[in-house]
Symmetry: C2
Subunit: 270 residues, 2 copies
Amino acid sequence: MPQFFRIDDPDDPRIAAYRDVRERDLVGRDRQFMAEGEVVLNVLVASARHRMASALIVDKRLERLKPLLTDLPDEIPIYGASQAVMDRIAGFPMHRGILAIGECTDPPSAEALLEGLGPRALVVLLVGIANHDNMGGIFRNAAAFGADAVLLDATCCDPLYRKAIRVSVGASLMVPFARLATGQDPVALLDRCGFETLSLSPAGATPLAGLARAPRVAALFGTEGPGLPAELLTRTRTIAIPMAGGFDSLNVATTSGIVLHHLACVAQEA
Amino acid sequence: MPQFFRIDDPDDPRIAAYRDVRERDLVGRDRQFMAEGEVVLNVLVASARHRMASALIVDKRLERLKPLLTDLPDEIPIYGASQAVMDRIAGFPMHRGILAIGECTDPPSAEALLEGLGPRALVVLLVGIANHDNMGGIFRNAAAFGADAVLLDATCCDPLYRKAIRVSVGASLMVPFARLATGQDPVALLDRCGFETLSLSPAGATPLAGLARAPRVAALFGTEGPGLPAELLTRTRTIAIPMAGGFDSLNVATTSGIVLHHLACVAQEA
């Protein structure tokens, strides 16, 4: 049973970690992340990989959430506050009324993550995805279609940034991911682990529809504008999603949904 | 050739329509809409259905955009302003530096829109989509996969709201749409026009993958939480997108991308 504490002073030092959430979340967080809202709180409480460090919950939601929280370890503090105090602490109107700080377990290396997968595996490799909405959307799709892992190049944003977790509906706490070292060659690594590599590109050689998949398959996604680097395209199988003439534009998270649906559902019948 | 005017005073009455863009855009706009950014401006200038009434463009972008604007009719005013004046006018930092007011042509009725379509047609019907990001994302996908029309029930938000247009990358200015009257029965209308109606639902009877399509087909999408009303589900063919156990959650715009890709690309091979 966790400990419940009442916070009446927005400057109370016990809730310093929740102060000015927006600014705090953009700087170094030292393996901590901020979970927001009831759906994400549920995922965090149930997580085997991450640990809840504390929570700050508005009064009107606290009673209803207590059953969810009672099995947490004793040492975890749960802070209750009025909406006005919570807004003052967070630095903006916190309508969701639920914040929790989580602590990451040690992230695996990309090699260790891939080596731990089974003979049939679906991996996502992201190159240069810097928008938290897109990152969250891609993780949500990865979870929905059972992707086993997400690899991020060094230029991708953090899937554990508050907004990315929220947009992912908690999926970035669920799908294992690893960040490649600067300069590390992801295609060489995927080749070595026996993955077919599929690069999504408007100019791809093979249309997605009808594509059969290898047992171990990795789908590569780049940014909406420049797309994947030519250097990666030449070393992988390029796949296109045919579009209507005159409007050749898909959001990258939507693209990932279309591709992962195909690889998870359609291709297994082939 | 349009007329170019210099604006140095944020209170200049000539640019009153651009003042406090955020607030203005949420109230009645009387067949006008606000286009934002270069991509959307390009779509508006090229549009056969909508007409540009004026534009407000930051100095540093104006010279480069002049070639795009020179073919516009003489009476259209183009206002130039410094970034500081533009921010003051808009009421927030207008990084994109480009705003334009468009005027809608008379929207067709849903009946007229459907009757004008060919023997092979793809229609989207939206029920209760109130989020502008989702609305924009769905229109973007509708354009990408060549949907012929979008029908909106009376509770959907406006696809011509500034943010919806921006997220759609201009697609909500391209794909014809019509709003149903309050109480109008969309399924009866689609039936009468010979459309097969497919309702997307997590509990749908038929998996999407492998589904063959009728020549005239309509895909129905509801909100992420409650989904489509039971009354519509019972009168249509229900379709599911199978997902991984334990995470049964897709964004509605992503769902539309998966479904429209299937109906546009996959099913035409069946």
